[in-house]
Amino acid sequence: MHLPMISQIINLLAAILLLLSFAMLTQRRILSLINFFALQGLTLTLAILVVAYSTGQHHLYYSAALTFVLKVLILPWVLHRLIRKLNVKWDVETLINIPTTMLVGIGLVILAFNVALPISQLAGTIARSTLGIALACVLLAFLTMITRSKAVPQVIGFLAMENGLVFAATSATYGMPMVVEFGIALDVMVGMVILGVFFFQIRERFESLDIRHLEKLTEE
């Protein structure tokens, strides 16, 4: 009797995730972008926990913890420090204007749902119906990366994509094997460090983090 209840909760969380992705897609200010990212991580953690509790998949607790530590604590903190060091608090102007972006995003969501439909019917997990949302999150994050013209927001979009992937893993397969989870987490960590280094180098070379300076290598 409580299974539908559970799945309702999961669906709710999924909906929140999707909403957050949209928020990030349309968000202008870096600081709130980072906050939204942290929030997304939190929601993700909750979702994983619920799934873990409802299905008694123990390794999901670990991945939940991993997600929490990485996506809610460390990365936001690192990002905050970075932008303080690089003092890039200013607004982020997008390459395409917001309404257009949103329309495209809605189109993406529709596509994602349609694509995911057959799979979620096949998948045996309780959270199967949310796979479409996970795909939608990934695609929206992709769109975010495309539309941002500064380095930091682009990276945040990249991390949001990771979130979407983790959620997909949870909803479709109760998470990947542990060793893989750790591997992914490690990659994300290292990637973050390298990116941090990069930010500083790019800043010192170009006096800015605007990646429109990074358009010299062409065939013209």
Binding site: I119, L135, A172, D187, R205, L214, K216
Partner: protein, 484 residues
Amino acid sequence: MNWQLYLVLGTPLLGGILLALWGHKRWAAGLNIAMSVATFVAAAALTAQIISDGPLITANEQFFVDSLNVFLVALTAFVSMTTSLFSRPYMRIEHALGKLSDNRLRLFHSMYQLFIFTMLVVLLTNNLGILWVALEAATLTTVLLVSLYRTPASLEAAWKYFILCGVGIAQALFGTILLYSASQKVLGAGGGALLWTHLAPAAGSLEPTVMSLAFVFLLVGYGTKVGLVPLHNWLPDAHAEGPTPVSAILSGLLLNVALYALLRCKVLVDGALQAPFASHLMMGFGLLSVVVAAFFLSKQKDVKRMFAYSSVEHMGLVTFAFGMGGPIANFAGLLHMTLHSLTKSAIFFAVGHAAQKTGTQIMDDIRGLIKVSPTVGWGLMLGSIAILGVPPFGVFASEFLILTSAMRQQPWATPFLLIALGVAFAAVFSKVQPMVFGETNAKRLPHPPALIPVFAHLAIVLTLGFYIPPYLVDWYRVAAKLIG
């Protein structure tokens, strides 16, 4: 107890750690070479063992070696060894020219070893998830290598490389997840469902729709790293702006490794769908890459950029071959992978020295190499001739097989191939000829160039054009059968 395997994986890891500590010492380059040689010896031993007692599964099924990946392991180990031989004088000259500080040298050496390590993991692991992780790690290490000079251009290249490949490989992860979800229903939950050795036999019972969807993501993901048009944009930048040894192993090895990952997935998808879905996609992308890259070639000014595009072209050719499938085409594809990585790395060695002699990578400023240093000039000339598929070099052998089987299986594709190969020939050769022949403007160098690698590679390529040793043949045959 199979020490060879652990040795193959352990040596570069250890090398990475050691060189991270002492990579700036005078003898660091020597250590780098020593480690690479040790890796190659271990790989040779592993190969011998596989040839003698067949496939090997170990470390509670986490590692799996069959003839498909062992030949790539051997190739990787070999090319990384020769590249380390080449990078010693090259990097010393760069250091002498003041392009690199000690720290950068350290970074280079340790990352070089780690990069080799990650690629070997990709090749040897049995777990598709780990495969993904290792490939991502390979990206990260090479990002640091590409941005080694810290020049604006190199930073830009590294940044694009990072973002594009990161995003691409994220798609691959999604594909892996879908694959996992499909395999779980068959193999049940738990680690087993991502192990190749479990998946391959059960491929037939995997859910077709999920698998086709998964392959789309995997193709976009790993295809980005293979450099298939239109996902190739990172490739020329990264090749042109990184140090030459890195360019050599990037196009000589990394592309192969990514293609290997794609191949493993293709086998599963083919098994699941019983339809040439994956084949058609790969043929399409391969052909597109060949044609587009060929036209890119003729516009190049930077020599390393040009040969980067030629890598795109050849990877497209190989992808096309695997897409066609069948014993001959697969055989040709594997052969072409081998020959391409040997030839292309040899070319990059020669190009590196040429660029150092003339102090530029702009082709219009490189003239008459054959006058000032015949070895470099001939290396470049013969390498280009080889990569353009002119006999008696071996690249022709694989192109011969690919084209002739295409003529029978996919005749519609041959006009495109004809045009593309013609255009590519005209483009590359018209650029290389004046670089090698004619009047010169090159100068002497502080250190003598290392040319053993160049001519060793070219000699092997030449030999393979006339004679492919039987064990290599059986080896390719088995591998071709594995790909199906």
